[in-house]
């Protein structure tokens, strides 16, 4: 269950790079190349283990000038996909991360 105060971190085993505003991710275990569009790439870049889901939603709302509802819907949907593919993992709090 994705809640607003959850912090997510990128899976460290996934090498990636931004190219022309899109993100190219390599899932070496599955032998897959994933290409994220500019919105996806922006969300991906914002995932750093420190920002909460709510903060990412706010960042997307500001960057793409969309309503809070639209940003929330798209970010949640996208993050769920990333979680399903194990491209990101949950970090419960900043203190857990540093422990």
């Amino acid at each position: 269950m994705l809640t607003v105060d959850i912090r997510l971190a990128k899976n460290e085993k996934i090498p990636w790079r931004l190219i022309e505003e899109e993100a190219i991710l390599l899932d070496l275990d599955e032998g897959e190349v994933l290409r994220l569009n500019p919105v996806g790439a922006e969300i991906w870049s914002a995932i750093d283990g420190r920002h909460t889901v709510e903060e990412i939603v706010a960042h997307i709302r500001r960057t793409f000038e969309v309503s809070h509802w639209t940003a929330r819907r798209d970010v949640h949907r996208f993050l769920k996909q990333l979680l399903r593919h194990a491209l990101v993992e949950e970090r419960l709090s900043v203190s857990t991360e540093s422990a």
Binding site: W16, I19, I24, L26, D29, G31, R35, R84, H85
Partner: protein, 547 residues
Amino acid sequence: MGETASPAVQLRSPLHLHDGLRRDGIRDAALVGRDPIDNVVMMEDHDGAYYAWKQAGVRGRILLHIDAHIDWAWIGDRDPRDLLEARSLAEVESLLRERCLWNLSDRRPDDLIHIGNYIYPALKEGIVKEFYWIVPDSFMKSPAQRKNLVRQFQILNSANPRAMKTITITDHRLVAEMDNTKVIACTLSHLPEVQEAMLLDIDTDFLMPEPGVSARAGDDLWKQLPWIWPDELVARLKDKGVRTDFVTIAYSVEGGFTPLPYKYLGDELALRLKHPELPERHRERLGHKRRGAFYLHDNEPEKAIAEHEMAVVLAPEDASSHFALAYLYDKKGFSDRGAARYCQAVQLDPTYATAYNNFGPVYQSLGIDDHAQEEYQRILRWDPQNADAQYGLAELLAQHERWEAASSLYRTVIESRPDHAKAHRGLGYVYAKRGLWDEAISQLDRVIALQPYSGFAHFWLGEAYFHQRRWDEAIEAYRVALRCGVRTVTTRRRLGRLYLRRRNFHKALKQYRMGLRAWGWRTLIWIRSRSRTLFKRLSRERQSCSL
């Protein structure tokens, strides 16, 4: 196929050929069988040829590969991280469209080259521009054998369809285009005239019937004869007007391709290429050895012994004659004399102590266990501490689920050879089968330290962690096993179950889907083979009814 040794070890003679190589065309090259050839490089593993060509600075040559195996396979050598170096999305797309396979194993490209694929980098790096594979005559004899040859190419095609499009058989030649290079497979009789000096690359196993086929036919592997002798091969090459300035010859004993008793045929070949007018003393010695082989084949061991003893008088330093005598004396019941000759052979040439100095591994791989056991026991009569023969016997015991006896033998092997990865692997497997998971993990960890890409070890490590409920470690071990090529239904099923535990339904579903696909293919193949057998039986019955 054998493991790839370090190239430096494979090359028998140091190479300083760059200056001596003649690349001016056909006039400067030697006519095989008429002119002496200076550059003949010997090696055990055939991929040594690639390193020899590289070291000699060879470029843009036609390769005449005379071998029972194609030694060509795709290598997934492209680093996927190259995609992240692209400067634009168009470049990423173009990279993904390229005719290449990606290296997902993280192994260095050099580590990916082995005896089964070394011609691929030679083509890719421009060492070879055109490739003739001369197959043994038997490969083209019957429609079934030709079909088998075509199948080999079809398998290559299915692995990388973008890079290999056409496979045609015309005029007794199989022609394929692989990675923009023309590859022609044919027998020596159907080799077209080539107006260029070629790289001559010969595997000694070309001269011999395939050991597996002979063993399945019930032949005694010690008594088999070459289907073509080195002088006959050289004469046929001469008739074809083959010219060369650079020859590579592989013994290929490791892996069981060339039987050790016939390893000397590689040396004979080299001798005949270097000195077409063979000096008398060599002619005499080789004559004795050949007659010895014929006498053994004809069940006349006394005469065979006499011939080999005469060969020893002429060349006491020739390990192969001593080795032939070891077998012959043992067969006659003089095992002490056999052991003495074996020790002499090994002293003269330590490669005669190889794990392939008997046919145990061949018989074992074919499930002819009683013959395999006899072979290992013979070696242990000659050399009671021989770790490879002990390992072979341990494997047989494990196959028959005699876990206690197998464990004990594996441990004996490990005591004398602590780096015997296969013995650690066997012991780890036996512990796993007995549910001794901690002991299994300890052995399998040792295997992985010795052979980091052993898929078998990673899989069984996964099994051990799975049974110990160490879920995360199990997932990691199974994933590595998959990357090392263990793409079995069980691996997929286990991973699926572990992902389900993690509530990662997407990944679990994916693994189950892949598992079903693998299972589906297996079932389909099984159903096809069963239906063929059934069909044959039905048609036989129908024929007998109509009679």
